[in-house]
Each structure stands twice: as C-alpha cells, then as structure tokens.
Symmetry: C2
Subunit: 263 residues, 2 copies
C-alpha cells in the first residue's frame, strides 16, 4: 500500500506559477502529488505548493517532473536561465504551453541529454475546466522519453480526470490550433473591442458569442500575443479571417445594389 | 367545454410558408389552432395546414390572425400584393420578421384601418428551438391593437410554450438586434467562408464557434441579407466589426515589433 502510493505519487516542480499553473496544481495536489513551484513573481504567500524564491534551491529538490508553465513570450528566456547543473537526477521536462513547436525546439536545445522531454497542451483553462476535466481534450507528444514510467504517471494525472488523450506531433498541433484556438481568441478579442454585451432579446447563438468573449478576456494578452507570434500557422489564419470578412461584406454590398436596382 | 375550446382556438392564416413558418405551424397545430397557409411556391403536398394556391380564396377564409412569414427582402412586394378587399372581417396582422421597423411601416401603410397590427420576433429558429421554446426570447410590439382578446390569444401561443415575452418598440429591437443577432450571423458567415470545422483538439470555445457557424449556415442568405439591408443599425455594426478587427491586428503587429526589438 505504501509502496503502491509511492510509485503513483510524483514530485512535481512547476516553473512559472501564474493562473494556469495554479489551476493545474490544485488537481495535482488533490491527487496526492507533491507540488513545488518557482516563478518570477513571489507566490510564497499562496496556500498550496511549497514556493521557492531561489531557482537553484528549487532545482536541487530532486523532482520527478519539472513542468514549464510560463508564458509563451517568456519561455525562451526562462528555460535558458534554468540552472540545469543543479539537477540531482535525470528529470522529465513537461511543458503545457498553448503553442508547441516553439517550446519543443527550446527544450530539445536546452534540457540536458539524459533528461526526458514531453510537450503537452491541455485544451482547457481555469474557466472551461472549472467543473472538472472530464471529456476535455489533452494533446501531447513524447518528444524524448526513456523513463516510460514517469512519463505515463505524469500523463495519467490528466487521463485519470477523464481527459481525452490525443497523441499528435507539435507541428500538427500548431497547424490545427491556429485554425481553432487562435481564431477563437481572435473572435473573442474582436467582440471585446466591440464591447458586445447581453441584451434582453439575445438569441442562443449570440449567448455563445458572449461566452467566447468572456472566456477570452480572462486570458492574458501575453497568451494571445504568444499564439500569434510563436505559432507559424497563425498569420495565415489572420489573413483568412480578413479575407472572409471582405467576402461577406462584398456579398452584402452586391445584394444591396441589386435591391436598389430592383426597387 | 366546447365554448371554452372555441374561444381559445384561433384560425390562423400564414402568408409565406418557408422553413420558419413550417416550424411555427407545427406548434400551432399541436396547440389545436386551425392553420391555413399560402405562399409563392406550392406546398400543397406537405402534411399539416390546408394549403391555398390562390391568394383570394385564402383571404376569404375568415382568419382571426394572418401571420406574415415571408422573407425580409420580399415583404414589401408580398404585403402590397395581398387582396385585402377579400377580408371578411377585421383581422389581426402579425409578422415574425427578423427586422422590425421595416415590416411595421409597411403593415401600417397597407393593412386596412379596421384591422389590427402586432409586430413580433421569435428570437429562435428551427435549430435553436428544436427541443421546445421554453426560456427562449419572444419580442413584440402591439402596434395597433383594438381586439385585445385575439392579440393576447395569439401571443399566448408563445407564452404558453414558456417563451420569455419581451414588449419593446420595433426601433429598440432593431438597435439591439443589430448588435447581437446581425453580428452573430456575420461571424457565422465569416467562419463558413473560412471553412472552419471541428478538430481532434477543440477547445470548448471553438466548439461554440462551430455551432454558431452551423446554425447560421442553416438560415437562408436572403435572411442574412435582409438583416443588413432593412435594419438601419446594421451598417454601423459592420463598421464596428471591421474596426475592431483592425485594432486587434494592430496590437498584434505592435507586440511583434516589440518582440523583434527585444530579441
Ligand atoms: N490559461 C489557460 O487557459 C491556458 C491553457 C492551456 C495552456 N496555457 C499555457 O500556460 C502558460 C501559462 O498561462 P497563464 O494563463 O498562466 O498566463 P500567461 O500570461 O500566458 O503566463 C503567465 C506566466 O508567465 C510568467 N512570465 C511572464 N512573463 C515572464 C517573464 N518575462 N519572465 C519570467 N516569467 C514570466 C508569469 O510569471 P509570474 O506570475 O511569476 O510573473 C506567469 O507564471 C502559457 O504558456 C499558456 O499558453 C494556458
Ligand atoms: N429561420 C429563422 O430562424 C427565423 C427566426 C425568426 C424569424 N424569422 C423570419 O421568418 C421569415 C421566414 O424565414 P425563413 O427562415 O423561412 O426563410 P427566408 O428565406 O427568410 O424566407 C422564406 C420565405 O419567403 C418567401 N419568399 C422569398 N422571396 C419571395 C418573393 N420574391 N416573393 C414571395 N415570397 C418570397 C418564401 O416563399 P416560398 O417558400 O413560397 O418560395 C418563403 O416563404 C423571415 O422574415 C425571417 O426573418 C426566421
């Protein structure tokens, strides 16, 4: 029983303890994993994981997994500043960034050869996952995995909550996420700029758009900017969106002329 | 009992028997109203209401309510061609168009002085209302009502199904619907043009956008064009949407420059 518990319990170190990391840590602690965290800002006043202000001390703990949970825009700087020489043993590095080719490349470049790398993207956040993770999508690529046991125990954190586990290359992820998640965030930010709000005569469709707007507004602007700058497929989707708007507008203007001629 | 039934049952004539009229007629028939219909196309093969190919014969029936359910683009032409001289008695004219100032003006202009006018907009369609109308919004303006009894029996068709009844001027409706429904249809059509579809890694937000796209695609292009041409507040919303997209894009481009300078 004690043995069983110890093989299932992971020592998880989190680098970057912002809103999303705190949200993930809650479930990890609930599952009896031992969570420790470090971040640019000081979160030592927060309940939950033990917080390390000093990165070297944090690295010396001997984590099974180090989870990179920093913003997309800062990941390169953050990973390059990790004192890898303090690692006590080969460790699994797992990232949860919303773009995947970019952290994959950085981790492969920076993480010591004897440590493993898994790139993941939980396709949900503090809002859409607030009632549990059952049925929500979780994407991952086993980029460089030798310690299968630690890697599957890490993935099992999500699988055991009911996530739909999707194994996929980081490239394929970025291609699909540009069409789906990046477009969603863009529409949400457009609706924010338009300051749309509920009316007494909402349709069901409009209610959905208000929800998309509100969920997007909760995420940081850094996150959205990161989706654009570090997903090489995003620029094309922005162009597609602009052209689609032009075509829709063009067809309205054409039928307007038709109507005028008609009357 | 027989008397009770006869006071509650309405003779309803429908002009314009397209998808939305057929959807409404189903519930009216379920509620034991007597429904008759006429339309540009021949729907006499359909089960349900008795169908009249001849508009004069249709008008001679002696309906309590004549419901105008034709497209926004054709309503002017259709109402002007109604043989009002065939009416046997004062009748309530009710429209269900998705814009409201336009039909209101036409009905006030064309409907004989001794007949009543109520302008309504059920804020749902065959898709969003397929599991019943409970909790869905129903907007109306009593434009010219003397026969309170017939008008409330007509409105009760919707109220008794659980609709949220919202009394509002046609002007206020058009102002709000331009911000909500027109924007929703525009986003839906943009997403259609982009050919977005579900992916294996959908977020909840993206799933909502796919639903908005699919519901919009089910509605006719005439309906969307009508929302734009005959709601005087729609053009401004189209401009707002374009400017919002420009601002979102501008802020991405600015942070991209920042990042470039930074690295
Ligand atoms: N929110 C979601 O729904 C969601 C879902 C899936 C994946 N993700 C991914 O999870 C990661 C965290 O997301 P988030 O929602 O918490 O917000 P975020 O704004 O994307 O990232 C905030 C985190 O980045 C750190 N950070 C930002 N700039 C930094 C810098 N210059 N140097 C060092 N650290 C820096 C912050 O540290 P301090 O707090 O210490 O300042 C904080 O830990 C992102 O990569 C995001 O793409 C988020
Ligand atoms: N669909 C919805 O969810 C919804 C919701 C609320 C309100 N509405 C309103 O309900 C009305 C009907 O909508 P709909 O969805 O059925 O589709 P629609 O495309 O807006 O209208 C179709 C109806 O208009 C008639 N029509 C079109 N052009 C005509 C013309 N030149 N001359 C005579 N009749 C013509 C059609 O007659 P034939 O079929 O005989 O050709 C059909 O009855 C519209 O005003 C719409 O705004 C629709």
């Amino acid at each position: 029983m004690v043995m069983g518990t110890s093989t299932r319990t992971l020592n998880i170190g989190i680098i970057g303890f912002g809103p999303f990391a705190q949200f993930l840590a809650e479930t990890m602690i609930k599952q009896d994993h031992v969570v420790r965290a470090t971040s640019r800002s000081d979160y030592s006043a927060l309940l939950g994981p033990k917080f390390f202000r000093d990165m070297e001390e944090f690295m010396k703990v001997g984590h099974d997994v180090i989870m990179i949970c920093t913003s997309i825009l800062s990941v390169s700087e953050v990973v390059k500043s990790i004192p890898f020489h303090c690692l006590k043993k080969p460790t699994l590095f797992a990232d949860v960034l919303s773009v995947k080719e970019h952290p994959r490349q950085i981790l492969l470049q920076e993480v010591p050869e004897d440590s493993d790398v898994v790139c993941t993207h939980p396709m949900f956040g503090p809002e859409s996952g607030k009632d549990g993770w059952n049925g929500l999508n979780f994407m991952y690529e086993r980029v460089r995995v030798r310690d299968e046991d630690v890697c599957s125990r890490f993935l099992n954190i999500f699988e055991s909550e009911g996530c739909k586990m999707i194994e996929m290359t980081c490239e394929e992820h970025d291609r699909l996420a540009a069409q789906s998640q990046f477009v969603t965030h863009t529409i949400g930010r457009i609706l924010s700029e338009m300051q749309i709000t509920n009316t007494p005569i909402d349709t069901k469709g409009f209610e959905k758009l208000v929800q998309v707007k509100e969920n997007t507004a909760n995420d940081s602007l850094d996150l959205y900017t990161g989706l654009f700058i570090h997903n090489r497929f995003a620029k094309q989707q922005m162009k597609n969106l602009e052209h689609a708007l032009e075509r829709v507008k063009g067809s309205l203007e054409a039928s307007m002329k038709n109507e005028d001629g008609h009357n």
